[in-house]
């Protein structure tokens, strides 16, 4: 945040999706309700930096990504790109601005038009932004494909001829085609197998180093964030709960939700069989949320204050460059994430012996 001109800066960005009012609502003058998808998020992305945005479904992470790429218009707040206000850009100006920010979508099948060939798909931003001819587009796409690890001779293939990983490479190539300054990666690997996921993540990190692109990596996958991101922001029900350097946040989470998230990640360790997860309750509704900390209903460390007063995002007690939104940051900050896992009590039943078979 010390950088004088951050690449992307959002300030109290809000996105509400109003619910349709039924006839009876209109008659009884019930005020319209809305889904608070993103509720006052302020963050910055510096040039060439990878910011990981972790959250579960309903956290508003995808909505935030769409706001950052201006696929949505925020209900409130401002979005600045290289210092210029882009919150309410429309029409031609918006189309031209889009060459700065490109998006890689989650669904490797759906985000590629099944009726277009590779060069048409990857070249679409080029043609939209520069009005290049067919031949020029083909040449540019051909030059671009090796950088995402695809062979040059697949220009005329259709997307369904590629595996999931291949399709996601196409998406990345499409995003790269107009040399953007920021790429919003919306769950880029969550539809892929582990082995393919590693290939794509390696490629993304290489590309970032080579081209000095900034990433906004939106995912629920802690492992992907750990590998790709420089800084990480944790989102819960539309609000930032914690933000800081990736290593600090993942190794010493301060906010109880970050702890709960990290403890929940299944890891291939046989000892986990005996562990019981001690966070309960469902993710509450985003429709007109109640005041107070949004994690309070599930939080193992909840006190009365959490239920009435919104916690503000403030510097964490231990490290000043980390932000956390928790009333009890001082008390619970040092509790490790593993504390939310407990070993199951031994059951009285006779354990089947290995010789049983």
């Amino acid at each position: 945040m010390s950088d004088p001109t951050p690449l992307l800066e959002t300030e109290g960005v809000e996105k509400l999706f109003p619910l349709t009012r039924s006839l009876s609502d209109v008659v009884t003058r019930t005020p319209g309700r809305s889904v608070h998808a993103v509720d006052g998020v302020s963050l910055t992305i510096r040039p060439g930096e990878a910011l990981g945005l972790i959250g579960e479904s309903g956290s508003g992470k995808t909505t935030f990504g769409w706001l950052a790429a201006r696929l949505h218009e925020p209900t409130a707040g401002t979005i600045r790109f290289e210092g210029a206000d882009v919150t309410h850009l429309t029409g031609k100006a918006l189309q031209r601005w889009r060459s700065n920010v490109q998006v890689v979508f989650q669904d490797p099948v759906g985000s590629l038009d099944p009726r277009l060939r590779v060069w048409q798909i990857v070249g679409e931003p080029i043609r939209a932004q520069t009005g290049a001819s067919r031949a020029e587009t083909r040449t540019k796409v051909e030059a671009l494909l090796p950088s995402v690890g695809l062979p040059q001779d697949c220009l005329d293939q259709y997307p369904h001829e590629f595996s999931g990983g291949g399709r996601q490479r196409l998406s990345v190539a499409r995003a790269l085609s107009v040399d953007p300054k920021l790429i919003v990666l919306d769950e880029p690997t969550s539809a892929l197998d582990v082995a393919v996921q590693a290939q794509i993540l390696n490629r993304l990190v290489e590309l970032q180093r080579e081209r000095h692109i900034a990433y906004l990596l939106i995912t629920h996958n802690v492992a992907a964030v750990r590998y790709v991101a420089d800084r990480v922001a944790v989102l819960y029900l539309g609000q930032l709960v914690e933000m800081g350097g990736v290593r600090e946040v993942l190794e010493h989470p301060v906010h109880p939700y970050t702890k709960a998230l990290l403890a929940a990640v299944p890891i291939p360790d046989a000892r986990r069989r005996k562990m019981r997860y001690r966070v309960e309750g469902d993710i509450p509704s985003l429709i007109d949320p109640k005041p107070g900390c949004r994690f309070a209903p599930r939080c193992p460390f909840v006190i009365d204050r959490c239920r009435v007063e919104d916690p503000k995002l403030r510097p964490a007690p231990s490290a000043p460059d980390r932000l956390v939104a928790c009333h009890r940051a001082e008390d619970v900050g040092d509790i490790p994430a593993e504390a939310l896992l407990q070993t199951a009590p031994e059951l009285p039943k006779a354990a089947p012996t290995a010789a049983g078979g």
Binding site: E56, A198, E206, P266, R273
Partner: protein
């Protein structure tokens, strides 16, 4: 404990499409015992879901054909059962939990109706109104269960009284008579306030709640075998952890034999006692979870474990596995992993390695010994 509830022996499944065919599952053997969980882990297209659907014969045949092997369930070979008798087989105690709970629940019915329907059908079957398939000489005996818990009493079959009047009254029962039982099952899957949940429609529930309902429905049929095909893959991480914790508790309580399928090594580690690693339709490594995950003896298992990103980018690139999952219609000769294997030798291209025990002499089939289908399995620990 000595008798497996479900015994899959050398099962092979082929898909025939047009003129071509490809082997989706090749020579898979595994045994399920009450109260134990066998995990199957593998990447997309490795045949794990095909296997899951083939066991209760839910695969559409054609295009699938069961090429060989047996699926012995309570003494009956399900492979040999005629198509006409299949519905009865499915009713007799193989429960399924699928990945997408929203698609698996009928959106037009309330939670109560869905759970009550499965209880009612099971009840009718127990009373003998609905034909069931009682094949073989070894009927599964629920009373052999080690301890009586709340849950195991729930999964006991009805005992008909025999009085004629009772039967007649029973015949007239409708779904609404099962309210108490439905509530018990909802409590079993730790749903708070089940009275309210009963009257909701599936779309009004969260994903975790829907998956709990699915589990309740599967359990309410009192299955002696439960097949869970990626049951938590559609859920959020914290909700997945909650559902997995519920499943772990139920595994201990219900004492059903479970086949748990997932692409996530971590999820398998959470739930399974033994794990089979599938690659290109074969089980390439099998054994207790602690053994397989902490001392893998197949290069594929090792690579899979290492591919999970656990490092920061300052620590160098992730170890990505070379190559890709082979096209099932054009499999390499010999070991199917040989084009991607760091240990490959000429022998691997000539012969298919058998599933050999890691400790020589241990019984693989029917036992729980750690086994690996690799000629050079002793060299795997030396791999980076």
């Amino acid at each position: 404990m000595t008798e497996p509830v479900l015994d899959v022996q050398h099962l092979s499944i082929t898909y025939t499409v047009g003129a071509g065919s490809f082997p989706a599952v090749t020579d898979v053997s595994l045994q399920l015992y009450p109260g134990r969980v066998v995990g199957i882990v593998g990447e997309t297209g490795c045949g794990k879901s095909t296997l899951a659907k083939a066991i209760p014969r839910l695969l559409p045949e054609p295009p699938a054909t069961i090429g060989g092997g047996k699926v012995v369930f309570r003494g009956t070979d399900l492979v040999k059962v005629s198509k006409r008798q299949l519905p009865m087989v499915r009713g007799t105690g193989i429960g399924m939990i699928f990945q997408e709970p929203l698609n698996s629940l009928n959106p037009a019915y309330r939670v109560f109706d869905q759970v009550a329907e499965s209880i009612r059908i099971r009840h009718y079957r127990d009373m003998g109104y609905v034909k069931t398939f009682q094949g073989g000489e070894v009927p599964f005996d629920y009373s052999k269960r080690p301890t009586e818990t709340v849950a195991s009493s729930l999964t006991k079959p009805f005992v008909p009284d025999g009085a004629v009047g009772e039967i007649v009254r029973d015949r007239l029962r409708t779904r609404s008579d099962f309210r108490k039982e439905v509530l018990e099952y909802l409590r079993l899957v730790r749903i708070n306030d089940p009275e309210t949940i009963l009257d909701l429609f599936p779309h009004e529930l969260s994903g975790g709640m829907r998956q709990r309902i699915m589990i309740a429905m599967a359990l309410s049929e009192k299955p002696s075998v439960l097949i869970a095909d990626e049951p938590t893959s559609a859920l959020d991480v914290t909700i997945q952890a909650q559902v997995l914790t519920l499943m772990k508790e139920l595994i201990d309580e219900v004492q059903t034999a479970i086949l748990f399928i997932s692409h996530d090594l971590g999820v398998i580690a959470e739930t399974a006692d033994e794990v089979g690693v599938m690659y290109a339709g074969q089980i390439v490594e099998y054994g207790p979870v602690a053994e397989v995950f902490h001392n893998p003896r197949h290069p594929y298992t090792k690579a899979l474990l290492r591919a999970a990103p656990t490092r920061y980018k300052s620590e160098g690139p992730l170890s990505a596995m070379a190559g890709s999952v082979p096209n099932l219609s054009r499999l390499p000769s010999g070991c199917r992993f040989n084009p991607r294997c760091p240990l490959v030798q000429p022998l691997c291209r000539e012969k298919m390695p058998p599933l050999d025990p890691v400790v020589p002499g241990e019984v693989v089939v029917g036992g729980r010994a750690h086994a690996s289908a690799c000629f050079f399995q002793s060299e795997v620990p030396n791999l980076p």
